[in-house]
Symmetry: D4
Subunit: 186 residues, 8 copies
C-alpha cells in the first residue's frame, strides 16, 4: 500500500460505493488508474462489502469460549462455525480456552436458543466452556452478518435440523437464517 492506496481505502471505508471518478478527483488520478489500483488491492488485501447495523437490527451477541479436547476437533468446530450465518467472529486463542466465537441473534429468545442448542458450549469434545452476552457492540457499528436470500436449506449448515428443535417448535427461536424454517427479519 502506498499513500494513494491508503487514501483510496480510507475513502472506501467511509463509503464503499464512492464512484471511481469521485475517488479519482480526491486522490488526483484518472478513474482508469483508480480502477486499476482498486483491482489490485481487491485481489488480496481489501474487500469492499456490505455489513448490517447491529443496533438497528436489535442484535445481541453471544461470545462463547471453549477448551476443545483435540486439535482435530478444534478444526472441525472452526469449519462448522465458519459456515453459520450467525457467526461474526471465530478465532483460536490462548488462555483457559482455545477457541472464541461471536454469534449474533435478532432477539433474546434466539440468543438463548443458540447458547443452549447451537453454540460450541452444546457440542461434543469440549473440556470446559464459557458464554458471555453483549449488546450490539460500540465498535463496529456494522457487523458482517451473512444474508442468505434463498432460504432453501432443510438442514442448517452446522448440521442441526431446526424443525426438530424444541426451542424452535416452542416459538423460542427464529431458526437458522440459512434454512427454510427461518421466521425472522434476516
Amino acid at each position: 500500500m502506498d499513500e494513494i492506496d491508503k487514501k483510496i481505502i480510507s475513502l472506501l471505508q467511509e463509503d464503499g460505493r464512492t464512484s471511481l471518478s469521485e475517488i479519482g478527483q480526491k486522490v488526483g488520478l484518472s478513474h482508469v488508474s483508480v480502477r486499476k489500483r482498486l483491482k489490485n488491492l481487491c485481489e488480496s488485501l481489501v474487500k469492499v462489502s456490505a455489513s448490517l447495523n447491529a443496533e438497528q437490527l436489535g442484535s445481541h451477541i453471544a461470545i462463547v469460549n471453549a477448551e476443545v479436547e483435540t486439535h482435530k476437533r478444534l478444526r472441525e468446530l472452526i469449519d462448522i462455525f465458519s459456515k453459520c450465518p450467525r457467526t461474526v467472529f471465530v478465532t483460536t486463542t490462548t488462555g483457559a480456552y482455545n477457541i472464541m466465537t461471536i454469534m449474533v441473534a435478532e432477539d433474546v429468545d434466539t440468543l438463548n436458543a443458540i447458547l443452549e442448542v447451537c453454540s460450541i458450549r452444546a457440542l461434543k469434545g469440549i473440556r470446559r466452556s464459557e458464554a458471555i452476552i453483549g449488546e450490539a457492540p460500540a465498535v463496529p457499528k456494522y457487523l458482517p452478518i451473512k444474508i442468505v436470500p434463498n432460504k432453501e436449506m432443510e438442514i442448517a449448515p452446522c448440521g442441526i435440523n431446526c424443525r426438530k428443535c424444541l426451542r424452535y417448535k416452542n416459538q423460542k427461536c427464529l431458526g437458522c437464517p440459512a434454512t427454510k424454517y427461518y421466521r425472522g427479519p434476516l
Copy 2:
C-alpha cells in the same frame, strides 16, 4: 428488508463494488430502482465499506477483557477505544468482566506493546483484567482496520504520546497508525 433488499445486500456482501446495473439484472429491477433501494438501505441498516485481509497483513489480535470499577469509567474507556485505529471490536459484556475489546497489531512486537502500554489492562479504574491472543481470525477474513492516510497527529487518539513511549523508542512497537510517528504498513 423485503426479498429484493436481501438479494441486493447479499450481492453486495459478495462484492460491494457490484454496479447498479449488474445488481438490477440479477434482482430484476432497473438500476434506478436499485439505486433508490440501496439509498434507503444505507440510510440506517446497511453500510458498504472496505476492510482489510488480516492474514495478508500478518495481523494478530489481542482480546482484552476488564472489570471496570464504575459505569462512568466504563463509558470513558468505550470512548477511548472507539477512537483507536487498532480497535476492531468493543462491547460491554456480562461475566467476570464488563468490557471486551479486540485490537489488531501488524507484528508481534506491536501486539506485545499494545498489551503492555495501550490496552485497557494498562489503564486506571480497573478491578481485574485478562489478555488473550489470537491469530488472524478464521471469520471474518477481512477486518475493519481503520486506515488513517494523513498521519498528522502528534498524540494518539487515546491520549498516548508514542514519542515518549519506551517500547516505541526501543523499536519494539510500530506506533499508533493515526500519528506521525507510525512506521508500519498501514
Copy 3:
C-alpha cells in the same frame, strides 16, 4: 396492566387475601369489577399464592451452578429439578455454567445431604459445578417452598430413593418432603 390493575396487584402483594370489596374501595370500583379484572390478570400474568417464611423455618439455601455437557441433558435436569419440592429457583444462565438452581433445606445436615446426594453437582453429564451456601435470603422473606401434604411417594420426584440413601439412614438428612420417608417439619 392499566393503573387500576397495578393498584390491585400492589394491594395483593401486600396481602393476597384482601377481599374483593376492600380492594374495590381502595381502587374505586365495585367488587364485581374487581373480580373481573382479577380473573383476567390471573389468567396469565398474575398468580396469588402462599409462600413460607424462610428464616422462620430455619431454612438455608444451596445455590448450585453447573456446566451441563449437552442441551438434551440440560433440559432433563431442568425437568428433574422443576419437580423437586426443595427447588425454589431454576434457570439457564450465561457464564462458566449453564444452569443455576437454588434449593432449600430445613436444617444444615439436610443442606449438606442435598449438596452431596441430590444436587446437580452429584449427577451425570456435568463438566464442572460449583456449590454456594446462603442464609435465608434478605429478599424475598417468603420463598415458594412447595408443601406436599400427602406424603405417599415411595421414590422422590427426582428418582432418588431416600430409604436407600446413606445420609438418610444415618439420620443426616430429613429426606425428601414429597415422600413418605420425610421426617421434617414441611
Copy 4:
C-alpha cells in the same frame, strides 16, 4: 404446622384466592376454623401474595455476585437492593463472592442498563464481581416483582436519578419502576 395447616397452605399454593369455605370443605373444617388457622399461619410463617409471570412480561434476569470489602458495606448494599423494585433475590453467600442479587428487567436494553449502572457491580466498595444473565426462570414461573402504582419518586430508592442517567436519556433503559420517570409496563 400440623397436617391440616399443610393442606391449607398447599391449597393456597395452588390458588391463593381460594375462599375460606372451599378450603374448609377440602380440609374438613368450618370456614371459621380455617380463618383462625390461616390468621395464625400468616402471623409469621406464611404469606399469601401476588407475583407476576416473568415469561409473560418478557422478563430477563441478571444475577450479580460481588465480593464486598467490609461487612458494613455489605449491610448497606443489602439495604439498597432490598428497596429496589427490580430485585427479586438478595442473599449473603459463601464462595468467591459474599453477596448475590437477582434483578429483573422488562427488556434487554433495561437489563444491560441495570448491569452497567444500577447493579452492585457498578458500586463502590467491591473487590470483584460477576454478572450472569438468565431467561425468565423455569422455576418459579411467577416472580415477586414489586408493583409500585404511584410513581411519584424523583429519585430511585437506591439513590440513582434516572433523569440524569445517560442510558435513560438515550432511550436505552425504561427507568426505575418506582419513579415518575419510568416508561415501561410495570
Copy 5:
C-alpha cells in the same frame, strides 16, 4: 524417636490419659522410664491435649482463604487469628491466596456471622478472598477448639466488640467464646 517412643506416642494417640504403668507394661519398661521418655518427648515433639468432638458439638467449619496485600499485613492477620478461640487452623499457602484459616462455629447463624464479620474476608488489606463451608470433618473427629472457662474479656482477642455487633445484637450470633458476651455452649 526410637521404636519405643513411637509405641508410647501411639498408645497416647489412642488415649492420652493412659497411665504410665499401663504404658510401661505394653512397651516393656518401668513406669519411671516411661515418665522420663515422655518428659523428653513432651519437651518439643509431642503434646498431649484435649480436643472436642466436632460433630457432637454440632460444629460447622468455615474455610477462608485470602490474598493479603503485604507480608506485614499477612503476619498481623496470622497473629489475630492465632488468638481467636474459634480458629483451628491457620497457615500461609501457595496458590491464588496466601493465607488459609479454618474456623469453627457451634451453629449456622454463628457460622454466617463469623464469615460476615470476623473472618479474614471482612478485614482490610485483602486483594481477594474466598469462603468455603464444611461439615464437622471426617478427619479429625476431635478438633482443637480452645475452651476459655473464664469469660471475662470485654473485647474479643481479635479486637472486635461483640456488644456493638449487629449480628450479635439481633441474636444472629452466639458471640466470641472468649468474652463475657458469649451465650453458647463452649
Copy 6:
C-alpha cells in the same frame, strides 16, 4: 458442659497429662469426682490424645481440593483418606470443589510424591482438582499425625504399593508410614 467441665477441659488443653488430683485442686473437687466427670466427658465430647509438633518434624502440608463426580465416589475417597496416616484433615466442602484433604509430609520430596501419586488429584472419578502447599501451620502447632509403630503392612491403607512406585524406588519419597517400606522418622 458446665463451668467445672470447661475448667477441666481447659486444663487438659494446656497439658493432657495433668493428674486428677492437680485438676481437682484447681477446680475444687476431689480426684474421684474429677475422674467421674472426665469419664463422662470422654465418652462422647472430649478426647485426650497425643499430637506431634509439625515444625519440629520439618513437616510440610499439602491441601488438595477436588470436585468428585458422584457422591458414591466421594464417600469412597473419604474412606480411603481417613485411613491414610498422613491425612490430618478431610471434609466435604462447598465451592468449586466438594472435598478438601490436608496431608502431611516429613520432607519436600515426599510432599511432591504424595501430590503426584497418592493425593486425590491423582485418583479416578475427579472432575477437577487443586493442590496448595503450606508450611507447618501457625495454628495448631501440634498436628494429629498418626504414628504406626508396627510397620508390617505390605500395601498402604489406601491400596498403593510403595515398592512398585517409581518415586519410592528413585529415593524421591519416604514411603507410607504404615508400611514396612517406610524409611522416614515417623
Copy 7:
C-alpha cells in the same frame, strides 16, 4: 562449593569459554588446579553449555499448564516434552494444574501451531489446561534451545509426523527442528 569454586563458576557464568589460565590468574591458582576443580564441579553440580539469544532469534514462548488425570500419564508427558527440542522448561507444579511446560517458537505461526497441535493442551488424559504467551523473556536472555544439526528424523521425538500435519502443509508452521521436514533457522 568453597569460595574459589564460586569464583570459578561466577567467571564461567560471565563467559563459559574463559581459558583455564585466565581463570587461574583471577582466582590465584595454577591452570592445573583450576582444571581439577572444574572437573569436580562438572561431575555433578555445574554444566558449561551454549544457549541461544531468544530475542535475537525472534523467539516467542508458550507457557502451557495442564491438569493431568493420572500420575502415570503425567510421567509420560514429562518424558515426551523432555525430548522435544522446543521445550525449555518442564516441571510438575502445585495449583490448579500439575505440569507446566515452556516451549519456544521461532515465529508466531509456529507458536500458534505448537499450541494447537503439539502442546500438552492438545493431548489426551488432560482434565483442563491453559496456554499463555510471552515475549522473549527478560531473564534469561539466552535460552537452552536444543540445536539438532543432523535433521534425519522422519517422526518428531514426541511422535508427531510433521508431514501429515495440516498446519505444516499449509506453511503455517516451520516444523519440528529435530526432523528432516524442518524449514526454519535452527
Copy 8:
C-alpha cells in the same frame, strides 16, 4: 547459522568447554576457523555459560504470576527481579496475569520466605497474584542461578534488607545470596 555453526553450537550444548581443536576435528575445520566462527556466534546469538544442577543443590522453584496495575510499574518490577540472584525466569505474559517470574530457593524455608517477603506477590501495585511451587525442573537439569562470590552488599539488589527481615532473623530464610547476610551454599 549455517550447518557448521549448528554443529558447533550442538557440541557446545553437550559440553561448553570442548576445545577448539576438538570441535574443529568434528566439524572438519581448523581451530582458527572454529575460533572465528565462535567469536561471531558469541557476539549476538550464542552464549556459553555455567549453570547449576538444580536437583543436586536441593533447589525448589517458585513460579509467581501477577497482574500489575500500570505498565510503568510492570517495567520497574522486571528491573527489580532481573537483578535478583534467585530469579531464573522473568517474562511479560498474556492471560489473567501480565508478569511471570520463576525464582529458586535452596531449601523450603527459604522458598516460603521468598514467597512471603521477596516475591512480586508481596509488592505494591498488584491487582492479583498467584504462587505455584515446583520441584527442581525435569527440563532443564541445570538452571542459570547467578553465583555472587563477593558477598559485600548490605542491601539486596531488590532493595530489601535481610537483616531487618523477621524470617531471616528467625532462621527461617538463608537470606539473599548477593548480600553479606547470606548463610547458604551459593
